[in-house]
């Protein structure tokens, strides 16, 4: 399974990428998409919604199960990937290209609390 080194990860299997404008793109990891199986439905937060860290703010559903997606940090939703509504299985094809939503973080630097790729990989392979 693939966990790019330039991303940060959460214990609830989201990845986070810092964009050049300071916003954070959020998606689900290769491990998450593999466990869920092919996605058939995604529900994404509206732009403008304010999130606390850990808020359930999106839903991904596969043929077999539904799973919440949590805000990795506090902030405001500035964009969502509406193209996924018509093609939810894009998340399975390339989970790191198929971002779900973007957050403008309430505080800069909070990414330090998230895991790097190596720590993330260890976190679930030991579980």
């Amino acid at each position: 399974m693939n966990f790019p080194g330039n991303l940060r990860y959460t214990a609830s299997h989201e990845w986070v990428r810092q964009e050049t404008d300071g916003t954070l793109s959020v998606g689900i990891t290769d491990h998450a998409q593999d466990s869920l199986g092919e996605l058939v439905y995604v529900e994404l937060p509206e732009a403008g919604r304010r999130l606390a860290a850990g808020d359930a703010c999106a839903v991904v559903e596969s043929v077999k199960a539904a799973s919440d997606v949590y805000a990795p940090v506090a902030g405001e939703v500035v964009a969502r990937n509406d193209a996924l509504a018509e093609a939810p299985s894009d998340v399975n094809k390339d989970p790191y290209a198929a971002w779900l939503f973007r957050i403008k973080p309430a505080e800069a630097g909070r990414l330090d609390n998230l895991m790097d790729a190596q720590t993330y990989r260890k976190s679930f392979s030991q579980a």
């Binding site: 199986g37 058939v40 439905y41 529900e43 839903v59 559903e61 043929v63 539904a66 509504a85 299985s89």
Partner: protein, 356 residues
């Protein structure tokens, strides 16, 4: 966990393995949706060796099964003919559902669900009269080859089966050498179920693959049978419901005075619910078992729900009040939100065509 003779073949084909009924079975081999489409459009195959074939033999086999099964094997007028039936408890609750083939006047073959096979065996052993023998065929593996091109691809893999099975009617089986070929299945498509010596299973699997038949897992099997409007034991029916409460009234043979286990209870039990299909009419999620259903005059519950790859919407089977009818509008609570759905008469899909 138990493993079928095809376990190594599944691992070699990169199957994602899961527990099912005490067995380690393939869920999918990469894409359960592509596997689903393969069966609707071409040909796919399932390892169903976790199910148990049980041969019932002897002079008393016929009266025994007429007593033990809710459907009447007297309907099997021709050799090889198959019948779907429930196995009922005395109170009319469903112990299992099964297919029974008439092999000869004194020989029948039953195929039982994996999770219930042992309790079925114990139950049938208690009901068994003198003169009827039970032989569990643990020596057999079972493959279901399904889809519009399943039979022709099967014959490409096993040319020797063609002569024996070319004229085989729907819901008939025939012994062809050491392979029992039956034109049955659990997908709503044409095809064969093959029962063969376990020692030959891996070779047969490879030959079928080489003939262009796609391996399919339990994931596709579940969405295919749901589209076909077929119940899954343990999910859409169990000990607590009668055949009249889960869409299986047609499988209970009440004509004539035949005494069968559960008959008296069925005569007294007023159905508390009926089974109907649901089609989700707006976006907002996927229908799943245990979601609550609300209508103007009804409350109910989904027993099986999923995403239909053929229809590209979410569908379900639901237990609703007995007065419910196809064509009603109602709502289903999906993650605390009411979503619009309509009731339909299953099946949703048969032979590749959407029917609702």
């Amino acid at each position: 966990m138990r493993r079928t003779p095809l376990y190594d073949a599944h691992r070699a084909a990169n199957a994602k393995m899961v527990e099912f009924g005490g067995w380690e079975m393939p869920l999918h081999y990469g894409s359960q949706i592509e596997e689903h489409h393969a069966v609707r459009r071409d040909a796919g195959m399932f390892d169903t060796s976790h199910m148990l074939a049980l041969d019932v033999e002897g002079a008393a086999a016929r009266p025994f099964l007429r007593h033990a099964l809710a459907n009447d094997i007297e309907r099997l007028r021709l050799p090889g003919k198959a019948l779907y039936s429930c196995l009922l408890a005395e109170d009319g609750g469903i112990l299992d559902d099964l297919i029974v083939y008439r092999l000869a006047d004194d020989r029948y073959r039953i195929v039982l669900n994996a999770a219930t096979a042992q309790s079925d065996l114990d139950w049938l052993a208690r009901l068994r009269p003198e003169g009827a023998g039970l032989r569990a065929r643990h020596d057999l593996a079972m493959l279901a080859v399904q889809g519009p091109r399943a039979r022709e691809k099967c014959w490409a893999a096993f040319p020797e089966l063609r002569a024996a099975s070319e004229a085989l009617g729907v819901f008939f089986g025939v012994q062809a050498g050491d392979i029992f070929v039956a034109r049955t299945g659990y997908t709503g498509e044409d095809g064969f179920e093959l029962l063969l010596p376990a020692a030959r299973a891996a070779e047969a699997w490879q030959r079928l693959r080489d003939a262009g038949i796609r391996p399919c897992g339990l994931g596709a099997r579940d969405t295919l049978r749901l589209e076909a409007g077929m119940n899954l034991y343990g999910q859409d029916m169990d000990r607590t419901v009668t055949p009249f409460e889960c869409g299986l009234a047609w499988t209970v043979a009440l004509d004539g005075p035949r005494e069968f286990v559960g008959r008296q209870a069925l005569a007294q039990r007023v159905p508390a619910q009926r089974m109907l299909g649901l089609v989700l009419e707006e976006r907002g999620g996927v229908l799943r078992s245990h979601q609550a259903v609300h209508g103007a005059k009804c409350e109910g519950m989904i027993t099986s729900g999923s995403f239909s790859p053929t229809m590209n919407v979410s569908i379900a089977l639901a237990r609703l009040p007995p007065a419910s009818e196809p064509g009603e509008k109602l709502t289903v609570t999906v993650r605390d939100r009411p979503l619009a759905a309509r009731t339909v008469q299953p099946p949703f899909v048969r032979h590749g065509k959407i029917l609702v």
